[in-house]
Amino acid sequence: MIPLDQQAFERAIDGAPSWLVDQRRDGLDHFEKFSMPSEREENWRYVELDFDIRDLAVPDAAGDLADGPGLIADLDAPVGSVRIVDGHVTGIEGGEPATLITTAEAAATLGAVAANHLNTGIAPDTDVFAAAHRAFSTGGAFVHVPARTLVDGPILVDIAATAAGSISFPQLTIVAEQSSEVSVLVRFHSPNGVAITVVPQVEVFGGANANVKLTTIQNWGDETQAFGHQRLVAGADTQLHFAEAGLGGRLSRLHLMVDLEGRGSNAEILGAYFGDRDQVLDYRYFMRHAGPSTSSDMFLKGAVEDQALSVFTGMIRIEEEAQKTNAFQTNRNLILSEGAAAQSVPNLEILANDVRCGHGSTVGPLDPEQRYYLTSRGLTPERADRLQVTGFFNEALSRFPESAVAARVAEAITAKYVAAVEEGRL
């Protein structure tokens, strides 16, 4: 393992073109200046970090993956797939008619397509994790969908981490050119019981009139902490869909920035998360409307039980030029046991005057009226509550872009709920 210093940096720039070396150097400069975030910072409220990133080290190579097939690995006919383990690409195949290659290969062969997009979505001054990613990432996958190209079926991106005490920086960049269509499934996972830190970075650039679907299943092991950054950028009339299922992790944070730059672009952002035991699921979502006639809908549903904590802060910012914009955000949380907590903080910042905006945020227990109605139909209270939980999540999952994945997420959430009941935590 290599500590986060000059040596790790040298490895990250090995063979990189000069623009990428410059990018990484910029990252290293920021990394050296940053301290660990504190709960006093607005973006880090509610969650206290108990470690120093400088105590962690990057794995020399990909570790062995003992983990089974998991939630999406056996889905029908992906057109391409890639596996990234401990920050190293261990397998990559298919993808046609899109180009699916490693970040390093993209940097070396795709010229401007790589230089204009790679690492441009996440600024190294965002926080220490973004800076570290920029400085030390050994890469990941790059998906390039040429103009007017329709990719028929999902591309699977399997991102894993294995090494105890390690930190890794997996990366995914999707460039969907004008009028193209692609659907990408990302699965994050790691073994239970191993202390691992992961800092994923995902960037999506949708060209004019492109349609991009990104579905993420976060299923980290129970001692993994993840600090993800993700940016989605839309051109004119671009359709962006992002859905995340938050299942695993000891602490899983996702900092999402969506930029609706082009006129008439649209983003649908969905989420379903279930925190059990002492899990912390932390979502910081920023939706920026820059183009006129843009629309966005954020819709996240979550549940927490035992000592779990969830955080959703949702910021919608509508720039002055973004007239005729529609922007909505909904975050609903079920508190299944007394010790669990959900923070739900919607925010609006509206600089334009001709817009329609709305937000709804709720945090509360299961509805006793629903339980009454369902038990009056002969269901036991346990089945009634389970059905209520299923329905609660179904409202989000039924809108997920990949329905086969949504069905598995529904099963996984039900399994977490049932385990909580059977283990006497509810």
């Binding site: 629903q370 139909r377 002969g378 036991t380 209270p381 999540f393 409202e395």
Partner: protein, 254 residues
């Protein structure tokens, strides 16, 4: 006379300090359809909920379904004892389709094939096909909700059905449909207590008895003529009088 499907004795119920039911006695024999009328706020829905076991009410007294005491049982066990409540205000179950609900009811009911057959025939009969994929009571019109309640009733196949204003908010055709459905469901195994504000529905069905509740008590019981009287005179003559109508043979028994 056969044992009543539903037999209520001296039923009292309150919420906090507010006493809502003040000694209800009522018999609904199997095979019969009884109607319960009464002014707003008199306690009709409360009676339904107290029978079903809703936990916000403190209740005393007795209620037998097919001869078995249900007071003190859980809501689930009352349903399993054969009681069904069609709700005046059916609860929305977000994200749960009617099919999912009836699947769960089937698993709970333990009469597999017969249950399936009822689902299919009731669905056909009530034209429920286009609602079965939709979330329970979510975004349904008032009439559609009542239809869904009647569908669940037909599927559940209870021994006692209390139908709380299943005719409210329905257009004339739908009222007739509901009335006819109640008549179709009439069987020697089922007692029905139908709550309504409108004698309109009585044009299409033949209730065996009509009861009037005022201030949490049955103040009048009789044949179909009771409804006509109410239509003419309103509840005023019954309000404030705790004296049962001396001509009423059933009340003599109480």
């Amino acid at each position: 006379m056969t044992a009543p499907a539903l037999q209520i004795r001296d039923l009292h119920a309150s919420v906090g300090e507010l006493s809502i039911l003040n000694g209800v006695d009522l018999d609904v024999p199997a095979g019969e359809v009884h109607v319960l009328m009464g002014p707003n706020g008199s306690g009709k829905s409360t009676l339904c909920h107290v029978l079903m076991g809703k936990d916000e009410y403190t209740a005393t007294g007795s209620a037998l379904v097919n001869g078995a005491e249900i007071m003190g049982l859980s809501v689930t066990d009352r349903a399993r004892a054969g009681l069904f409540e069609a709700f005046q205000y059916p609860t929305v179950i977000p994200g749960v389709s009617l099919d999912q609900l009836t699947d769960e009811m089937e698993a709970a009911a333990d009469d597999g094939e017969a249950f399936r057959a009822r689902v299919e025939s009731a669905s056909d009969h009530l034209g429920m096909d286009r609602f079965r994929d939709r979330p329970v009571n979510d975004g349904l019109s008032g009439g559609e909700k009542k239809r869904s309640e009647m569908y669940q009733l037909a599927v559940a196949n209870p021994r006692v059905a209390v139908l709380d204003e299943v005719d409210s908010g329905l257009d004339v055709d739908a009222v007739r449909e509901v009335a006819e459905l109640v008549e179709e469901l009439r069987s020697p195994d089922l007692g029905v207590l139908l709550i309504t504000h409108y004698s309109r529905i009585l044009r299409y069905m033949k209730p065996d008895r009509i009861h009037v509740m005022v201030a949490g008590k049955i103040v009048r019981s009789g044949g179909p003529e009771v409804a006509d009287q109410l239509e003419d005179e309103g509840y005023d003559t019954l309000r404030g009088s705790d004296q049962p109508d001396q001509d009423d043979p059933l009340l003599d028994l109480l």
